[in-house]
């Protein structure tokens, strides 16, 4: 099958405008008869479900959590980008578009990204109208801050809880539609199969996680808004329940998987502290506005950080990347931290950490401003620190509290210790400009699709993309498909395709329960995570990837012989839910390694050790790999590679430099 991106013709700045005014529509009377299933209720899912219901479609929404408000978008901390140029610092739609393409190391589509930048401004308007309490200045206008990979201030935020506030906004819009009867909400339901009839998506099989029952749902279109698959690494900043299952079932039903190996390793997370650890906690990128990253200049320096004098500290990001300093993009900051730690300069008990230090800005930036505000002449260090601390507390208080809670150290007094951790997946289901996968009627939105971030996502862009897809893109693009479905009557779920899909799901469940082995699901997940982290993580090479593939296959085989899933399928059984998710990760992990092995270049978060510049930067191969890898599942864990060439007409591609 030929991949068609369906990017509209015409100049970049007119593509979306033209699309909007010419896209096929569905009239209100017909919308009432068209049913849409939305799986996942994070930013993309909740905003899509609410917006489509407002338009008059009949919507059913599903989430595995006990409430749609708990989707993992809730945990996003730092902010959301928008090309508002409220700071008068030269921002524009084109600049946001350019920064995003460059930040993604020239592996994203121009058309999609420009559209994202265009709708970014409407997102902020919509959220404010819903009552999202963004941070404000004294005059009542919205406040902004900087994020990595940009030289303007375009990030809107609500303390360190921006994701929470945006999601609660989308959730309230969704619940409003639930209250009005336009959305039927299914909490504690997990999608386990996509049902296709004559090649089109026609519904899903979902498992009621409370009763264990498999339930059938028909729809004219299915939207997967199910997030990323970072939990394949076991330890990540994702929620414990975040999983790939819905996307993976869609993949097996015919949807191609795009760039699976493109993983974002976030530079500033609290380091691993013990073997029992279940997840890693992010410290927002916004902290790099005011925190300076350093390691001692001496290897294995065991002194207390506060005892290491200024001239014995290596502010390695400021040294290597003077133009962007501590605000280089995530992939670059992560690799630089790894490089220092691998070279023996790491700190803390594990030596796998670097310092993120606020003292300088607390005193010199905020302390001085406050002192001058209060007319304090020649303030001493203690005064500066005290004054600056209050400002930092207001900006990042909840993050500092969280750090202290987890590590038992006070970051106002000692620098934070941080290390990179898996955070986001740029890869996902391949979609065209309409956000439709290769299965007609099956869509993927938000982190679940591969589309906008190329090989590396810039900070504060995930919230933007999730809400862009849900509020402003899908409501329009879905019309292109559904306008052709107005004559399709609801198909009864007694149809053989539903029967067959339910049987497949049931067989898998019975299989898990009947293995009755000796090892817990969790132990397999941990082992898989370790393979992925060591061999398909921040740095990859051919030998390691080949080993990982063999190890994952062996682990998968062992899983199906020795896993122990307690309980039954007729009750609330979180272990059984987990078994299904880990089984899917055990297949996805292999595909990620295959993808990484086939991409013989380094770009963004994908760093193949064989392909680097003399300074250790990622070395792209635009001749051969200026494309998207889209994998088709052909049979039982066998894949065929398809490529979509990327065309750059508006941006001159070059070696990415933040020096």
């Amino acid at each position: 099958m030929k991949l068609e991106s369906k990017i509209p013709e015409g100049p970049i700045s007119e593509k979306w405008t033209k699309f909007k005014s010419t896209a096929p529509l569905v009239n209100p009377a017909n919308k009432r008869h068209l049913e849409i299933i939305v799986v996942g209720t994070g930013l993309a899912g909740a905003s899509a479900a609410a917006s489509l219901a407002e338009m008059g479609y009949k919507v059913s929404a599903f989430c595995f959590q006990d409430s749609p408000r708990r989707a993992h978008s809730i945990a996003a901390q730092g902010g959301i980008n928008a090309a508002k140029n409220y700071q008068n610092d030269g921002d524009s739609v084109f600049r946001l578009f350019y920064d995003t393409i460059k930040g993604g190391d020239y592996r994203a589509r121009e058309g999609n990204v420009h559209r994202l930048a265009e709708v970014s401004t409407s997102i902020i308007d919509q959220c404010v109208a819903q009552g999202v309490p963004f941070a404000r200045e004294y005059g009542g206008t919205l406040s902004n801050r900087s994020f990595g990979g940009t030289q303007v201030q375009r990030t809107f935020y609500a303390a360190g809880q921006t994701g929470q506030q945006l999601l609660l906004g989308a959730y309230s819009a969704l619940e409003r539609q639930v209250g009005l009867g336009n959305v039927k909400m299914y909490n504690r339901h997990e999608m386990v199969e996509v049902v296709t009839i004559e090649g089109k998506a026609r519904g899903i099989i979902a498992r009621n996680l409370v009763t264990g029952k498999l339930e059938r749902f028909f729809s004219h279109a299915v939207l997967l808004c199910t997030g990323g698959y970072g939990n394949v690494f076991y330890l990540s900043t994702n929620a414990m329940g975040s999983n790939v299952t819905a996307a993976w079932k869609a993949h097996k039903a015919g949807a191609y998987f795009g760039n699976p190996c493109f993983t974002q390793i976030h530079p500033t997370c609290i380091p691993v502290s013990g073997h029992y650890q279940s997840k890693l906690t992010l410290m927002s990128e916004s902290l790099r506005n005011d925190g300076r990253i350093w390691v001692p200049k001496k290897q294995n320096d065991d002194r207390h950080p506060n005892d290491i004098p200024e001239d014995e500290r290596d502010y390695y990001l400021e040294r290597r990347y003077p133009a962007f300093g501590n605000l280089v993009p995530r992939d670059i900051a992560s690799r630089a931290a790894k490089e220092r730690c691998d070279a023996g300069y790491g700190v803390g008990p594990s030596k796998m950490a670097v310092y993120l230090d606020f003292k300088y800005n607390m005193m010199q930036k905020y302390g001085r401003t406050e002192a001058s505000k209060h007319n304090i002449e020649n303030p001493d260090d203690a005064t500066l620190l005290r004054l600056g601390k209050d400002v930092v507390k207001e900006k990042y208080g909840n993050l500092f509290d969280m750090y202290k809670q987890i590590t038992d150290e006070d970051p106002y007094e000692v620098p934070m210790r941080i290390y990179p951790a898996v955070h986001y997946t740029m890869g996902g289901l391949w979609v065209d400009y309409n956000l439709m996968t290769t299965v007609p009627g099956l869509y993927a939105l938000g982190e679940a699709n591969f589309s906008d971030h190329g090989a590396n996502r810039l900070g504060a862009s995930a919230l933007m993309q999730g809400l862009a897809d849900g509020y402003f893109v899908i409501p329009l693009t879905i019309g292109s498909y559904l306008s052709g479905e107005i004559h399709t009557k609801a198909i009864p779920t007694s149809h053989e395709a539903f029967e067959a899909a339910e049987n497949r799901a049931n067989e898998r469940i019975q299989n898990f329960l009947n293995i009755k082995g000796t090892r817990s699901v969790e132990s397999y997940h941990r082992e898989l995570g370790l393979i992925m982290w060591n061999k398909c993580g921040m740095a990859r090479n051919e030998k390691g990837l080949n080993e990982a593939i063999a190890e994952i296959r062996a682990l998968r085989e062992d899983f199906y012989k020795n896993v122990r899933v307690p309980g039954t399928d007729k009750e609330f059984n979180p272990e059984l839910d987990k078994a299904g998710r880990v089984a899917d990760f055990l297949e996805l992990g292999e595909l990620m390694c295959i993808d990484a092995l086939n991409r013989n270049e380094s770009c963004g978060g994908h760093f193949r050790e064989e392909f680097q510049t003399e300074e250790g930067e990622a070395l792209r191969d635009d001749e051969n790999y200026k494309n998207v890898f889209a994998w088709e599942h052909t049979e039982n864990n066998k894949w065929e590679l398809h490529k979509e060439e990327l065309v750059y007409e508006n941006i001159k591609i070059q070696q990415r430099s933040y020096k």
Binding site: A50, E54, Q65, D66, S67, R69, R70, H72, I74, A75, I124, D125, Q126, C127, V128, A129, Q130, G131, P133, F134, R136, Y138, G140, L142, A158, Q161, Q164, Q165, S172, A173, E175, R176, V178, G179, N187, V210, A239, M240, G241, G274, Y276, S278, L282, M402, Q405, I406, D408, Y471, F472, P475, T518, S520, E522, S523, P566, G567, E571, F572, N573, P574
Partner: protein, 251 residues
């Protein structure tokens, strides 16, 4: 690695909503840096290894923001420390040899699903009854056209940080949801965007709260004391004030 420690657990086990529950005793090897939920992971590994049923408990983000975790620990929702969720509680808050009693949220409006998991859909229904601004996608004006003084925005934000965990209900002897409802009503009645539906909202939300079987408020303040996000008790006075005003206006 710090020294290891051992704790004795008394955990509420209940097969399903209908079943009669009871406490079971367990002992777990842990260490001070382990989170409370990781200690439960260790317990569950042990139970699975011994061929027994693991303890069902709700959890997801494990960074204190999703609101999913919900354990009453030694009588306190989210445990002994103030202003944190269960997932942010670490074993360093306990001593070697301690006995820890762990129960689910207790409230008629939050029926137990299994063991420590409860059904909080009643909160969703309260929000669906009015906890929103009726603004369809695409209806918004430019964000900076609505100026909001910083102190008002900050106060609205403070109320909006509620994570909907239900600790307030669990802490209350009347199982009242006034702190939860008050937080949303306060947020939206402070903001200009919430004015159009200010009165209908508060009446609808209070009606739904009553219909769900939450109890009345007798101002003991346990809810605010146990709230992991520090939502202040004053949101309840705001709720009462808003409700009275709406009623006097014939809503």
């Amino acid at each position: 690695m710090k020294h290891s420690m051992k704790v004795n657990l008394q955990v509420w086990r209940q097969k399903n909503t209908q079943a009669q529950g009871n406490f079971e005793n367990y002992s777990v090897e842990t260490n001070p840096d382990m989170s409370f939920l990781e200690m439960f992971d260790v317990l569950n590994e042990q139970l699975i290894h011994d061929g027994k049923e693991p303890v069902a408990f709700d959890h997801d983000c494990r960074e204190g923001i999703c609101g999913m975790c919900s354990m009453v620990i030694n009588g306190n929702p989210h445990g002994p420390k103030q202003a944190i969720t269960t997932c942010q509680l670490h074993m360093r808050s306990f001593n070697d040899g301690d006995t820890i009693v762990v129960e689910p949220w207790r409230a008629n409006a939050f029926p137990v699903i299994k063991d420590l998991s409860v059904n909080r859909s009643s909160f969703d229904r309260i929000i669906a009854s009015g906890g929103f601004v009726s603004v369809n996608t695409g209806n918004a004006v430019d964000a900076n056209n609505i100026l909001i003084p910083k102190d008002i925005a900050d106060e609205a934000f403070e109320a909006a940080t509620c994570i909907g965990c239900g600790a307030c209900v669990s802490a209350c002897k009347n199982a009242s949801a006034m702190l939860f409802v008050g937080a949303k009503v306060t947020q939206l009645s402070l903001l200009p965007q919430g004015q159009a539906e200010r009165q209908s909202r508060v009446v609808a939300m209070v009606n739904q709260m009553d219909a769900e079987g939450f109890g009345a408020c007798t101002n003991t303040g346990a809810c605010a004391a146990e709230c992991p996000k520090g939502i202040p008790l004053s949101v309840i006075s705001t709720l009462n004030r808003e409700y009275t005003k709406a009623k006097l206006n014939g809503r």
